[in-house]
């Protein structure tokens, strides 16, 4: 067995395969399906200060090799989450990263402070959700605005701060540089691509929210490109995500410069996707004489 372990900004994981925010619930939903304890880390659904009902349905639409969603961060709010859901997640014995979604800079700080001493291993700042009216992507497209949010959160917490970026920008490298300079400990690349599907019979948008975020294999090349560009421009580690369904998909991200990867939509296609990807990563290492998977990070350009 190859060494798949990774230390991501102080978060120690046995393997680099994490769950992507919003796709895996609290993990409890999949508890009877496979051993959640074999995941590298779990990332929570996007958590807001107050509970959020989410967008009106339909929230989903299948697209070629992917799906469009506009859930709108439906969640019970950070306090209820910490009290009722987090203990179950921590029981899995793997690092838990809280994805936090404030609608203002101050809200981000307030949510971040609530996670001190709760046992989470890190925070993932969501300034990239395309499906909410305030916060989300609105705070994550202008480098100076993003940097202000990140800087404030970094000052308010001792936890590692990961920043999840949107690909819906002209220059993702500029954005990544700005949040890295503001003190981010790691980056998650990428959130969903803004998209739209129209029902030609009804002559109406398919989603209740009109537009939504595209995920799945359809967006993978876009995500790999973003990781490849950003990894060469910043010194902090990157978690790569966007349509990862197989070990070879994960390897593309690692070779492009990601230290870890997250599996999201793939769970919908195959609930055992994470288990299989970890196994396929190990097999690849065996077949190619790789002792430490981390040696491959950025191998395409290093």
């Amino acid at each position: 067995m190859a060494d798949l372990a990774v230390n991501l900004a102080g978060i120690k994981m046995e393997n680099p395969v994490m769950s992507a925010s919003g796709t895996f619930g609290s993990g409890v939903e999949y508890d009877s399906v496979f051993d959640i304890g074999m995941m590298g880390a779990l990332v929570t659904t996007g958590l807001t200060l107050e509970s959020k009902v989410g967008n009106r349905p339909p929230r989903l639409c299948e697209t070629p090799a992917g799906l469009l969603n506009a859930v709108g961060l439906q969640n019970p709010g950070v306090d209820v989450f910490i009290k009722d859901v987090l203990p179950e997640m921590l029981d899995f014995g793997v690092p838990v990263i809280a994805n936090i979604a404030g609608s203002t800079k101050d809200e981000f700080v307030e949510i971040a402070e609530k996670f001190s001493g709760t046992g989470v291993a890190g925070l993932e700042i969501n300034i990239s959700c395309p499906n909410v009216k305030t916060g989300g992507m609105a705070l994550g497209t202008a480098p100076e605005v993003a940097a202000q949010v990140v800087g404030s959160v970094v000052e308010s917490t001792d936890l590692p701060v990961i920043v999840k970026l949107t690909p819906n920008v002209t220059n993702i490298v500029e954005l990544a540089r700005a949040v890295a300079a503001a003190g981010a400990d790691a980056l998650s690349l990428i959130n969903t691509l803004l998209g739209m599907v129209i029902d030609v019979e009804q002559r109406k948008p398919m989603l209740g929210n009109v537009v939504g975020g595209l995920s799945g294999p359809a967006i993978r090349p876009v995500a790999v490109r973003a990781v490849w560009q950003v990894a060469q421009a910043v010194k902090i580690p990157i978690i790569g995500m966007g349509g990862i369904c197989t070990g070879r998909d994960a390897l593309e991200f690692i070779l492009a410069g990601a230290s870890a990867v997250a599996v999201g939509s793939a769970f919908f296609n195959d609930p055992l996707a994470a288990v299989r990807i970890i196994k396929e990563l190990d097999e690849y290492c065996g077949e190619h004489g790789v002792d430490r998977l981390q040696d491959l990070v950025g191998a395409v350009w290093k």
């Binding site: 619930g25 399906v33 929230r59 639409c61 070629p64 969603n69 769970f267």
Partner: protein, 261 residues
């Protein structure tokens, strides 16, 4: 086993039920033992990643003794078309059992089943369970025409069947809701159970309220995860929040949900 599991199932048979309708029977011994009426499974309906999502199909019939589970479905697109080409001996992956099904333990002894089109799918398993529990059943089936009235002879084994078709090719000419209104005028029932298009469910919901007869409705919605993780398949609850069709449903008490469309 309490929660769902992932199973690779051998197809034992695939039966065409006329234009676009099929019945697929799978060897799924664990599922057959654990599933209850109204629950569903997420079936993998393709190779590779297109179509990307699994398809939620409610359990149509179960043979616990032989470990068989069957699904009744209509071919609409790529996924169901792929499924319809599976033959005896092929394999299909599924995740199940999922969701909250019909509440078969509620008191009562006289039930009315209202199934429109392929919405009759979960009602056969329900009928067998209710009859086992001593219920007397009356069954209303509706569709556009005779070809959309699925397995009426099998339903007749569990109770008196009445049919409505829009073109009058089978049963009365008209809507299943006219049949329902008529039936509720003539006699009383302890409980209504329904599955079908939203228009039919809304009609059942309305008459349930008007007559004060409790009703359970099985909803159909696009799903991604099927287990309650992704929040993608919601419907509106009476208090304005959103309920997950895959987890809090797919079967709801009529008063729990606000139906739109």
């Amino acid at each position: 086993m309490n929660g769902p599991g992932e199973f690779i199932c051998r197809v034992s048979r695939q039966v065409s039920l006329g234009t676009n309708y099929y019945l697929i029977e799978l060897e799924a011994p664990v599922l057959a033992q654990t599933v209850s009426p109204g629950q569903f499974a997420m079936l993998c309906c393709g190779e590779g990643f297109d179509p990307f999502l699994r398809r939620p199909l409610s359990i149509h019939q179960v043979n616990k003794h032989l470990g068989l589970v069957s699904f009744l479905y209509k071919v609409r697109g790529k996924g169901m078309s792929w499924l319809s080409r599976r033959q005896s001996g092929d394999q299909v992956s599924l995740l199940g059992p999922l969701g909250r099904g019909f509440n078969c333990s509620k008191p009562g002894s006289k039930g009315l089943l209202v199934g429109a089109g392929v919405g009759v799918a979960p009602l056969l398993f329900l009928a067998s369970e209710l009859v086992d529990r001593g219920w007397e059943l009356f069954i209303l089936m509706g569709g556009r025409s005779e070809s959309g009235i699925l397995r009426p002879d099998t339903f007749m084994e569990y109770g008196e069947v009445k049919i409505a078709t829009e073109d009058g090719t089978s049963g009365i000419q008209g809507s299943i809701l006219e049949l329902l209104a008529d039936e509720l005028e003539k006699s009383s029932f302890d409980r209504l159970f329904s599955c079908g298009p939203v228009a039919v469910l809304k009609g059942v919901q309305g008459m349930s309220k008007e007559k004060g007869i409790p009703a359970e409705l099985s909803l159909d919605e696009w799903m991604a995860c099927g287990v309650g993780a992704c929040m993608g398949c919601v419907c509106q609850s009476a208090d304005g929040s959103y309920l997950r069709v895959c987890r809090e449903g797919p079967v709801f008490e009529a008063g729990e949900v606000v139906l739109s469309g």
